[in-house]
Symmetry: C2
Subunit: 236 residues, 2 copies
């Protein structure tokens, strides 16, 4: 067994991510694999009891864990069906063509930390359910509402009224001076290398995080962290 | 030839980093290696002319580039002598026992973007001059003043008067409400996993970046980006 993007299931690796999965998306779990080197712990007991009481199969899977987990030392793993979330009100992060799996994992975890629960991915983009993304998010993905859109128009169609801040290197509004409001907002970011395309500009407020000319741009995950932080401050 | 931490030289990989090295620390450069697959470009011409006019040897080094650069496609590389910087006034980032090379590279680049030119490393810590750190910093390291300290006491001894903000999960000051001042400051961060030790607390202002309880902590490089961003705002 190997993981493929086209598969209908993916894997949460390690006790921390498996626990997050069981606590937040237990209805998607297909099976739990444990390695013969798994050591008992409070976390492991909690996981195995929760699985048993929900009728989830637990299976020896030392080999399959090694195949999916690669070089990392993983002793427990859960297989789950990929899912799409519904979402209602609340702040959004919109990732337009993100390409780096580690980056996306960090972004998901940071989004959870700042209470941005609705995350939109505009294709083409990374395989959101790749085990590497899930691992980099440290299981945060299971607490978030993830939606995949074929293109930006489809996103706009479903999210007409929310106020959109578009992060662009030539944004005419400086984030440092942008008023802090409490109304639900979408923070929109482009690809790591190419940024947001100019044609997106008309759909929101173009914003630039002021930095020195000594660097071309801030790293994507740093920019998103800063943007969420900005709006976490009290209004001025 | 392989790179080792104990070596007195290290390597900048790729045209971008080599150019940054030549522009900012040319006095440290020992030699330039070029691959037989190197394609001419304005950047390459600039590098080779600058090297020639400074009497720096340029040598064919396809094999040695592959050995140092690993799987990445690198066609030009510079060998330079490791150096220590002096520093004067100005903002500092203090990294106490950082362990992740990619993280440190991103931090260096972000620091340059926010005008924090003085970077202190408290040992034990990553090999600051490892080619991977230099590459992750995209050459930003060559524009910064780097100082290595054997321990925190040595850092304190040399940096008595600067105002220190200590980023700790149990910091009693919330960054979001911390006054923004223009005086030179040091932002001090602990190890990725363990954070700052409690005994450091007496030497500065303990600060916490408020986030939800859904995550244990923010990623180190995100925290540092946010902290520098905070102080880049106008005072309130």
């Amino acid at each position: 067994m190997i993981y493929k993007k086209e598969n209908e299931t993916s894997f949460a690796l390690g006790a921390f991510a498996v626990r997050e999965l069981l606590e937040h998306k237990i209805e998607t779990v297909r099976k739990i694999y444990i390695s013969r080197d798994l050591k008992p712990s409070i976390d492991i007991d909690f996981i195995l009891n929760l699985a048993k009481s929900n009728g989830i199969r637990i299976e020896d899977g030392t080999k399959v864990i090694d195949r999916i987990g690669g070089k990392e030392n993983i002793y427990i793993m859960a297989e789950f069906f990929k899912y799409e979330s519904v979402w209602g009100e609340g702040n959004q992060i919109v990732l337009y063509n993100p390409a780096d799996m580690g980056n996306v994992g960090t972004i998901l975890r940071t989004a959870l930390g700042f209470g941005y629960h609705n995350i939109a991915f505009i294709k083409p983009c990374v395989d959101v359910f790749n085990p590497k993304v899930i691992r980099a998010s440290q299981g945060a993905i299971f607490s978030l509402n993830i939606r995949l859109y074929e293109n930006f128009d489809e996103y706009l169609e479903e999210n007409k009224s929310i106020k959109k801040y578009l992060f662009m290197l030539d944004g005419e509004n400086i984030l440092q001076s942008t008023p802090i409001s409490n109304e639900p907002k979408a923070l929109v970011f482009g690809n790591e290398a190419s940024g947001l395309l100019p044609e997106v500009r008309q759909y929101g407020i173009p914003v630039f995080i002021r930095h020195s000319k000594d660097i071309d741009s801030l790293n994507l995950s740093i920019s998103i962290g800063i943007a969420m932080y900005h709006f976490s401050q009290k209004s001025r």
